[in-house]
Symmetry: C2
Subunit: 348 residues, 2 copies
């Protein structure tokens, strides 16, 4: 008989209490029965305080990213905090052109949180990780008193590997580049908002939360000299383009009519007084490549299911002010500023 009795947790009815964050027997049980059992992989099974990992090939470079997820509510149309926490970090790693390999998962749980929800979220993370081809190899669980969190927050950090000759970075974006977008914008933010506000639409609105590493791999295989990739999450397409313009010290010119937006998202935005350019996406990417190769890259993107609605939305121009200007369908033009204020808190 060992001292750590394998007493099963009551997952259907049980709740998290402070002992689950103690680092003692209750913590060990929670980790074994809720997390380790579904995240199962050799690095995790070694039961050390760190995962020990080997790169697929010596000499590869690493891409390393981290995101905390505080989305409310935890379950939403098209996903949940678990799958989102996997996709979000996988995508940030993939935007370096890297193959995402390993994730860490850190849970901050509010006392009283239902074990059944935690179990459902852990299974969703495991399924998402499997789907992305990554392993959750290390992690941590903390519990805070009732009223000191909002159910559950998750941090994921991710490591990917890429060949040293690859150089995808915002600073490589230059005048003459085309700007490509992989699909319609605003789905994630508007789906969350509509769900919170109990709005309903003829066409149901789903988050676009999805892994983009497969699409990126496919785009790299096209042989196009991609300068940079970025996923326009918080702050939306507008803010992401402004960030890149600032880093690359360029301006951009967009064609409003070329930017794909679903009718339901456009309608919801009009109703709510929101601009879809500022709404978060969780399964879209922006790509920059020389104008001359843009059609080739577009074809590659459209041939992949995560890029089937891709479009060329504008171009990079010299501009010391680093402005993003957008030509409207009526022939006018407006400046697309950084997001000001906070239209949709806790969207990711």
């Amino acid at each position: 008989m060992t001292l750590l009795q394998e007493k099963p947790l009551n997952i259907p009815q049980g709740r998290i209490d402070m002992t689950h964050g103690s680092g003692g027997r209750a913590s060990a049980r929670l980790i074994e029965q809720v997390f380790a059992s579904v995240f199962d992989n050799p690095a995790l099974a070694e039961s050390n305080d760190q995962a020990r990992l080997t790169l697929p090939e010596p000499g590869m470079r690493l891409a390393f990213s981290s995101d905390s997820f505080v989305i409310f509510p935890l379950f939403f149309p098209g996903g949940d905090i678990g799958s989102l926490a996997v996709h979000g970090t996988v995508n940030d790693v993939a935007m370096a052109g890297a193959k995402p390999l390993w994730l860490s998962a850190g849970f901050i749980i509010e006392e009283g949180f239902p074990l059944s929800d935690l179990d459902r979220i852990a299974r969703s993370m495991a399924a998402a990780a499997h789907n992305c081809g990554v392993s959750i190899v290390t992690g941590d669980t903390k519990v805070v008193e009732k009223g000191k969190a909002d159910g559950l927050y998750i941090n994921t950090a991710g490591i990917g590997a890429f060949r040293a000759e690859l150089d995808l970075s915002a600073k490589r974006v230059q005048a003459g580049d085309a700007i490509l977008l992989s699909g319609p914008i605003g789905d994630h933010g508007i789906a969350i908002l509509a769900h919170r506000e109990k709005m309903s639409f003829a066409e149901p609105l789903l988050s676009d939360s999805a892994p983009l590493n497969g699409l990126v791999e496919h785009m790299l295989a096209s042989g196009v000299d991609i300068h940079a990739l970025r996923d326009p999450t918080r702050g939306g397409l507008a803010t992401t383009l402004n960030e890149i313009a600032k880093t690359a010290e360029v301006g951009m010119r967009l064609e409003e009519s070329a930017i794909p937006i679903r009718e339901s998202v456009r309608g919801a935005c009009e109703l709510l007084g929101l601009d879809p350019l500022y709404i978060a996406n969780e399964g879209r990417l922006i790509a920059f490549c020389p104008q001359a190769q843009a059609d080739k890259l577009l074809q590659a993107m459209r041939a992949h299911d995560k890029g089937s609605e891709a479009a060329i939305i504008g171009s990079v121009v010299p501009d010391a002010r680093h402005w993003i200007e957008m030509r409207t369908p009526l022939g006018g033009s407006r400046i697309v500023d950084w997001l000001n204020g906070e239209p949709l808190p806790r969207i990711c």
Copy 2:
């Protein structure tokens, strides 16, 4: 004129509001003025959503670890949440015998949190990282509404590198190994508790929060065949030894009189009815090596300032029950179980 005005934040009087978590202009300002300015390093300066990194030598393996820090209060005798978040992850990485290289930092901040405290914590993290020889290369900031967190939670994930021939892992611990401890136990947990309870002692109690990577490097240089290293944080020495016994499928025998404990910690524990074996440490490690090399390893540890009070505290024995037994000074013996319950919540 660019659209991102470099308007300085009012750090002495300002407070975090929801816009700082929007991913827009206010987020960019916060990141630039509070975090990027003090974490300054080339990977971070590239302003991508991920850090792109090169291992010191091709063919090295990676150690990857993550921890969330929810300690209360944020500032305590001997440290703060910022330095603790760096030391905690650096130490978990170092316990693989790896050289810690890079950290991510994820901040979950409660609306209304003073910018001056955030600035102080960011500077403390930067100083701790510098002291450990690691760079904070990527990160994320989220803001949640007033009452949905307790000031600030920080997640750090860390990557270290080690030569492929090195194999420090709990499963290598075996009967015949000596158990070494790098210094007195209980300082961190008791310092936090005393501070919370406004207890005072003749000798002031400080957390032992400290980086252990220098000590580990020194121990590895001794040439001793170290089987495993582990830092006894949450759950204390007792729980950490039980975890290793379970993984390695062994038992352990401890000498109570050999375990270093400060008089002030012993006194506080007696007063509070706590057992120092279960109190968290943040700057101590346990090492396992063949008995025959234990004195050599002990000398190496004592020659380093982070191991000057090191001691041999017991040995590993065959035991199918995986029990930790401790011989008391009076000649009796008791079983040292896993931590049950939660004596000290939110200690890290």
